[in-house]
């Protein structure tokens, strides 16, 4: 078994008196898709923010492939291979859909600071961006400003940008929230595709139990910022504590 | 050639509060032409045409409109400008086109200084005149201690330097020089420093104020009651809109460039009357200056044999002529017009809106030792 691609050690963040992430230590391996569940406010998004660098921890450290990245800026972490899609859609609203994705491809290739070439002349970048749009089923709207897309398409674009970064570690924060059942599969297919590549680590925050069950290799449960359970999906879902805090006592899962 | 003779007025007419002063110059200039030509607006049978151009108080604009006046409108002489900076930028254009630029009303000494050129004449006063006259009005002697208050830039520093130079040899001492930043609004701290410097001195103690554009330092000084330390205030005269603030210092003495009741001569009488009739108010600094410029031009045109620039220059060098301020004379060396200043004493009359700088005596040009900026004769 390969060593962990990502692990956090005693990760903690406090906002005033409130501890949003509390002493979380856990590790993730390539080829594994972990779903992070927990009730609203459990600290899932906050934990993501710590790993991708939007927030600085009060205590604890974060390692990527054994390297300490706790002090790095978000951009440096992205370069190091940690990619992130946001819970609340977070795009470049007035740029075209294609450009949104192209920026992500270009960032990966490190062509950003160049002023010696015309952006439009970087055909490989463009072609790759177009390919990502194709697989996210966004090709038809490639020339639209991102702001003009309906919510569902914006979510897809969010994911397409993450895919375009081709990180080692994918972090999805409720990628299908607010998407209709006929559209969500587009995203789930994409995630399933990524999962096939055994060099990638995938983290997914998700509430929809069907999605969790369909994709998860492992489930981590957060509650009040603490890690309360970690293991195989069936085992974790069977735990009393999980049934109690997450699904509600005596849950009839079909209702979700 | 029977076309009109063209003269350009290059002034700031928009873009700054100073535009009010340009209007005074224009009025004075037109009145001057009228007076000098007896109303015909002709000289040697040719009509005088005045072209007005707006510098917008921007030196680059000023240069282009001046060049346009010389190059495209073919004016014979240009007159201007309002602020020293704009005028500095205009000087080389005169040399480039080899035409005369008559500086009015900008003040700075440097306009006739080393970087100026022989095409430049100047009818307006300069800072040295202001400060030397001011020094004379103080009647300096060994018993006098002065602390000065000026703004921290070229205008203020040059003025104080000229003032100190005028005091040399009189025995008076300058005990402190305070320079405040431009646009200072609160003078409390400076006043404390001035008082601290002066209060323990023996003899006459005077604070000299030489501030052009920042609030009302004199008012602030008066409020702080300098008399409790036996300190007097002295400052130069000012334009009419500012004179109301002088009501707080009755009896103060200083020197002024022009106040309509001070010069006693025919031209000034005519100017005051006509101005009152036409504009409903007495003439001010820049009206008098504008008129002096017009009178100089007409006199030069009348006396010169032809109107080639070189002829005009040699005519004007050393030329003396009558103005609302009495006789003026272009000094041959640097083309600065030497002129009288007026020692005044403030009188407050409740029926007059402003404080009256009542004439004490006229300070003749001979009494002042105005440094020569450059020598055009070399």
């Amino acid at each position: 078994m390969p060593g962990p691609s990502l692990h956090t050690e005693n990760l903690t963040i406090r906002f005033g008196g409130h501890t949003a992430v509390d002493n979380v230590t856990c590790a993730f391996r390539p080829g594994e898709l972990t779903v992070i569940v927990g009730p609203n406010g459990a600290g899932k998004t906050t934990w993501f923010n710590l790993v991708s660098g939007q927030l600085r921890p009060s205590e604890g450290r974060i390692f990527k492939d054994g390297q300490d990245i706790t002090g790095l800026a978000p951009s440096a972490r992205a370069k190091a291979g940690i990619g992130r899609a946001f819970q609340l859609t977070n795009l470049f609203p007035r740029l075209s859909v294609l450009e949104n994705v192209r920026l992500a491809v270009q960032a990966r290739q490190g062509a950003g600071p160049s002023i010696m070439r015309r952006a439009a002349a970087l055909h490989d970048v463009r072609a790759e961006a177009a390919r990502h749009l194709e697989s996210a089923r966004l090709a038809a709207v490639a020339d639209y400003p991102a702001a003009a897309l309906p919510h569902g398409d914006q979510r897809k674009l969010e994911v397409a940008m993450l895919v375009a970064m081709q990180p080692d570690i994918y972090m999805f924060d409720e990628p299908t929230a607010g998407m209709s059942v006929d559209e969500a599969p587009a995203i789930l297919d994409l995630i399933a595709e990524i999962k096939k590549d055994t060099s990638k680590t995938v983290l997914l925050v998700e509430h929809k139990m069907d999605v969790v069950r369909a994709l998860a290799d492992r489930i981590v449960v957060l509650h009040n910022g603490e890690l309360v359970a970690d293991g195989k999906p069936d085992e974790v879902m069977a735990l009393d504590i999980v049934r109690e805090i997450y699904l509600g006592v005596g849950a009839d899962e079909e209702a979700a | 050639q029977d076309g009109p003779v063209k003269i350009a007025l290059i002034h700031g007419l928009s873009g700054s509060p100073l535009e009010a002063f340009s209007k005074q110059t224009t009025n004075g200039f037109n009145l001057g032409l009228e007076y000098a030509t007896g109303g015909s607006m002709e000289v040697k049978g040719r009509k005088i045409e005045v072209i007005e151009k707006d510098t917008q108080f921007k030196p680059d604009v000023a240069r282009s409109v001046l060049a346009e006046a010389y190059g495209d409108d073919e004016v014979l002489i240009a007159v201007g400008g309002t602020s020293s900076g704009v005028t500095t930028a205009m000087l080389p254009i005169a040399a480039e086109y080899e035409r005369i630029l008559l500086v009015e009303p900008a003040v700075a000494d440097s306009l006739t200084g080393p970087d100026s050129n022989r095409y430049v004449f100047k009818t307006s006063r300069n800072s040295s005149m202001d400060m030397q006259a001011q020094a004379l009005a103080l009647k300096p002697d060994a018993n006098l201690s002065v602390a000065t208050l000026a703004e921290d830039y070229a205008f203020g520093k040059d003025g104080i330097a000229a003032f100190k130079k005028a005091l040399e040899g009189t025995g008076a001492t300058v005990v402190a020089e305070e320079y405040v930043p431009l646009k200072t609004t609160d003078y409390t701290a400076t006043i404390e420093r001035l008082f601290n410097a002066l209060k323990d001195k023996e003899g006459r103690k005077v604070v000299l104020i030489y501030v052009a554009g920042s609030g009302d330092p004199m008012g602030a000084l008066v409020s702080a009651d300098p008399s409790r330390y036996g300190i007097e205030i002295s400052t130069g005269g000012h334009i009419l809109p500012v004179l109301p603030t002088y009501k707080r210092v009755p009896g103060m003495e200083g020197a002024i460039y022009y106040y309509y009741e001070n010069p006693k001569n025919e031209i000034n009488d005519w100017l005051v009357k006509e101005h009152q009739d036409r504009f409903g108010s007495p003439p001010d600094f820049f009206t008098a200056g504008g008129m002096a410029a017009a009178l100089a031009i007409v006199k030069a045109l009348e006396t010169a044999e032809d109107w080639e620039t070189e002829t005009l220059i040699s005519t004007m060098e050393g030329m003396s002529w009558e103005t609302p301020k009495g006789t003026m004379m272009f000094r041959p060396e640097d083309h600065q017009a030497l002129q009288s200043m007026y020692h005044f004493k403030i009188k407050v009359d409740d029926n007059v809106d402003w404080a009256i700088p009542e004439l004490v005596r006229e300070i003749k040009p001979e009494e002042m030792d105005i440094p020569i900026g450059r020598n055009n004769q070399e």
Partner: protein
Amino acid sequence: MSDQSISDLASAPARPRRIPVGRLAVYAIALAIGLCLAFAPFLFPDVRAQEVAARICVFIVLVASYDLLIGYTGIVSFAHTMFFGLGAYGTSMALKSWGPGWDAIIIGGGAGVVAAFVLAVLIGMLSLRVKAIFFAMVTLAAASVMMVLANQLSDFTGGEDGFTYQVPRLFSPAFKLLTDADGKTLRFFDVAINGKIAAYYFVFVGSFLLFLFMMRIVASPMGTVLQAIRENELRAEAIGYRVVGYRTAIFCISAVIAALAGVLRAVWLKYVGPEVVLSFAIMIDILLMVVIGGMGTLIGAVIGVVLMSLAQFYLKDLMEVAAEATAGVPLLPELLNPDRWLLWLGVLFILLVYFFPAGIAGTLMKKGNH
């Protein structure tokens, strides 16, 4: 177009590409302006027009470099004239003290440019992290400190009056650039080919090259990153762009270009003073120009500068005519008093921001796109 919904469009498999009429129009206008400027000395031989043309050239560079900040990256800075001034003062102080030579222009101008660069790095690193409005205030403060310095160090800078100086002989009107058989200045279309022409082409070519350089920047990958930062800083950082680095870089590039524009201005003007290169009034002019032209288009700078300069130099004349024409009507001539031209400029500007927030180029370019 308007009776189609977005989803109709989205489902249409291959949309026929529309001809971007507006974009073409903008390029056509810019090209026409460029040609006019290239032949300005022959097309408009009168003195004022030449001054205006030279000013337009320099300001196109200045405004376009400002557009890199405000339009492309969303950085609001009030320090642009400070950099412009550094270039101009560097050049002119050297020309003044060493006499008119190319060495003075190169070393003095170079020193000004380097100073601008160093200052930009400092300001950028110190304060590009803080909120936009704070950055604007810091630059405003820095610019006013520079203005105060220029006034107070009058021994070097000539204070608020500024100073005049000579430029290399090649650029003086007396220099005969081309001579005919008798050794007299050659005339071409009735225009004397003298040093003035040389000076103009120095300014024109310099500006042209700088402008091309900026066009290259915005078309490069870096240009897209800048726009991304303007749109969503956080996200740009999250996909791997160091936002502070990019901002500082563009701030420096823009400062250096502004300083170079200052060098050109100083060579042309043969006078320098706070009013022509440092004052807040110029900063406002730049802002007006960039907005009138259209932010984030670069080419808009060309249109904005030309319109605004024409207004500054000729609106007054126009109003004079208007005031005379309406002389009989009550009130109107008073309002149309040429000295109140700034009032109308202000009103026009408000209307423009109101109705054409994208500026002229921006609005036109949208025409014919979806």
